[in-house]
């Protein structure tokens, strides 16, 4: 189910991407109760780049992520999207601005089919309200048909069109992850945040995932990736290492792995 299996649909690919944005975490600090989880985190994810964040457990990666995606409001610092301060924006507002995330355990809509999952991805670009839906107006029906068509094309691109009628909750972890990715792409994201995307996947599935991440980035999507899987990190242009709430090293994966402070942090050497 890798990128080479999805039908190359240039129009579909183009329709699903829409330019990229820059994400900046500026001076982020956060504490829970008395515990200082993030000290002063500065990370820039330039438009169209693939940036990774690694760090041992407890380093604050998840907190960082939740702040960037809007699930947590930081104590200090700013989150900027294309130089706009979105620190006070809701998750929904950030999504409409193009900032979309996935979750460590793939959050697909279990009771809904893959097709329905993908259709929800278009929620922010559609407008049918309660009244329109109830009355079945022509506009509502047209929008529904267009959404369905978009979902089908998206599924084709990701090579999951055979799964469209299946209930998402019945799929294995690897396919659920792809559905989650495809669903995120339905809304034409400009920045994609991936939270431990390889968790729960076997090595084959991780490889497929890796190739999809590279493919999406190659199409121009900004990607910010959090993981503790070094193999996955090889796709990144830049990697930041988080340790006890601070960035202790940045650079390519090779540079960072050779860095003395990183080695000390991870290996105690």
């Amino acid at each position: 189910m890798g990128p080479e299996h999805g039908r190359t649909d240039a129009a579909g690919a183009a329709a699903l991407s829409q330019g990229a944005s820059t994400l900046v975490l500026q001076g982020i600090a956060h504490s829970f109760g008395g515990l200082q989880v993030l000290r002063k985190v500065d990370i820039e994810v330039p438009a169209g780049r693939l940036v990774g964040l690694i760090g041992p457990n407890g380093s604050g990666k998840t907190t960082c992520f939740n702040i960037a995606s809007g699930f947590l409001r930081q104590n200090a610092g700013r989150v900027l999207l294309d130089d706009q301060d979105i620190s006070a924006s809701s998750v929904q507002a950030r999504s409409r601005a193009g900032l979309v995330r996935t979750f460590q355990a793939p959050k697909v809509f279990d009771q809904m089919t893959v097709l329905e999952n993908l259709m929800v991805g278009a929620h922010k670009s559609t407008r049918t309200g309660m009244l329109g839906a109830m009355l079945g107006t022509r506009g509502a029906r047209a929008e529904q048909a267009a959404t369905r068509e978009l979902a089908e094309r998206c599924a084709q691109r990701f090579g999951i069109d055979a799964l469209l009628p299946t209930r998402a909750g019945l799929l294995p972890a690897g396919q659920r992850r792809i559905v989650e990715l495809a669903r995120a792409c339905m809304g034409r994201p400009r920045v994609l945040l991936l939270d431990e995307p390889s968790s729960g996947l076997n090595s084959e599935e991780i490889e497929v995932l890796r190739r999809w991440i590279r493919e999406l980035n190659r199409d121009g999507l900004t990607v910010f990736l959090v993981s503790h899987d070094m193999g996955l990190m090889t796709v990144c242009d830049t990697v930041h290492v988080l340790y006890f709430g601070e960035v202790i090293a940045s650079g390519s994966l090779a540079d960072v792995q050779a860095d003395a402070r990183v080695r000390e942090a991870y290996l105690g050497i």
């Binding site: 995606s69 809904m112 049918t128």
Partner: protein
């Protein structure tokens, strides 16, 4: 017939048979039984609202009797004291219910699970007390009598049979609108919200707004049911708008299977007819009711429709 899905023909035939049955039913039943069927329809309209909240949003609403009462009293009072036409009174009840639901719903729908259910229970209880205390408006236990019957195009609905041919199409219309809603964009968003709320948020679903809209819709349906009720029995009093009534409304989707819109009919018929079947046992029928609710919840979480689905699955149909 070349393009028609062969699987649909049995469905179409079944629908036609049911329709014929529905049309002919009052001719073969006693007045009392037609009366019961009318109550079933009214229960269905109110229960549909509760069912939408339960099945689509996962919200347990224990306050539907409040809006049922508002609609009933609005219709009763506006037509008897103010002399308004029934439609204006009904609309008034609906508007008041919608407004109250919006104002109360906005803060309480931020709660979740038990706490939200508790809040709705509190709302229903408060309404019940106010209906009793504000007897200058509601007549308290003495109630309001002499509510005029509905008339449609010159035809007065003063017999159960006539009301039957009016109220059931109304229920059918409500079900149709609800089914459209559920199958459309809002329905999709609500089920997403129910299955994985954080992911729905990331898809930019405004969950609070959706819940508030559905709560208002539920209240309006309850109000309409109340208005129809008051015009049907021509008398409304406090005893009809207790927490017990709210539980009846809740029973409808629970027994039917909360996710099914057409199933509401089955649930409503069940809830309306059981007291009749158990009337010989007097007050015991309420015990049976409670046990039914409890049994369904414990053993058959999918309700009657869920049971039907399982049986059909076993029959080989997919």
């Amino acid at each position: 017939m070349t393009n028609r899905n062969p699987g649909r023909t049995p469905l179409v035939v079944t629908m036609l048979v049911l329709l014929a049955l529905w049309v002919l039913l009052p001719l073969g039943l006693s007045r009392h039984h037609v009366d019961l069927l009318n109550f079933a329809a009214i229960l269905g309209i109110g229960g549909l609202g509760v069912g939408l909240l339960l099945g689509q949003c996962g919200i347990v609403n224990l306050g539907q009797a409040a809006f049922f009462g508002i609609g009933a009293y609005a219709s009763a009072w506006c037509t008897t004291t103010l002399g308004w036409p029934a439609s204006a009174a009904m609309a008034t009840g609906a508007v008041i219910s919608a407004a109250i639901a919006a104002v109360i719903g906005y803060p309480i729908l931020r709660l979740s699970g038990f706490f939200l259910a508790l809040a709705t229970l509190a709302v229903g209880s408060i309404a019940s007390v106010l209906f009793f205390e504000w007897d200058w408006l509601t007549g308290g236990t003495l109630g309001i009598g002499g509510v005029p019957k509905l008339s449609l195009l010159g035809w007065t609905l003063d017999t159960p049979e006539r009301f039957y041919y009016f109220v059931w199409p109304v229920l059918a219309l409500a079900l149709w609108l609800a089914q459209n809603l559920v199958g459309g964009r809002p329905g999709l968003a609500m089920r997403a919200m129910r299955d994985a709320a954080p992911a729905a948020e990331v898809m930019a679903v405004d969950m609070h707004r959706l819940k508030t809209q559905m709560f208002v819709l539920c209240a309006v349906l309850g109000s309409l049911a109340g208005s129809l009720y008051s015009h049907y029995v021509s008398f409304v009093s406090v005893q009809s708008f207790t927490v017990e009534r709210s539980i009846f409304f809740l029973l409808v989707p629970v027994i039917a299977g909360a996710h099914s819109v057409p199933g509401i009919v089955a649930g409503a018929l069940f809830v309306a007819l059981i007291p009749e079947l158990l009337s010989g046992l007097g007050d015991f029928h309420q015990v049976v009711f409670g046990l039914l609710l409890v049994t369904v919840v414990t053993l058959m979480p999918g309700g009657l429709m869920g049971l039907l689905g399982t049986l059909r699955g076993q029959g080989g149909r997919r």
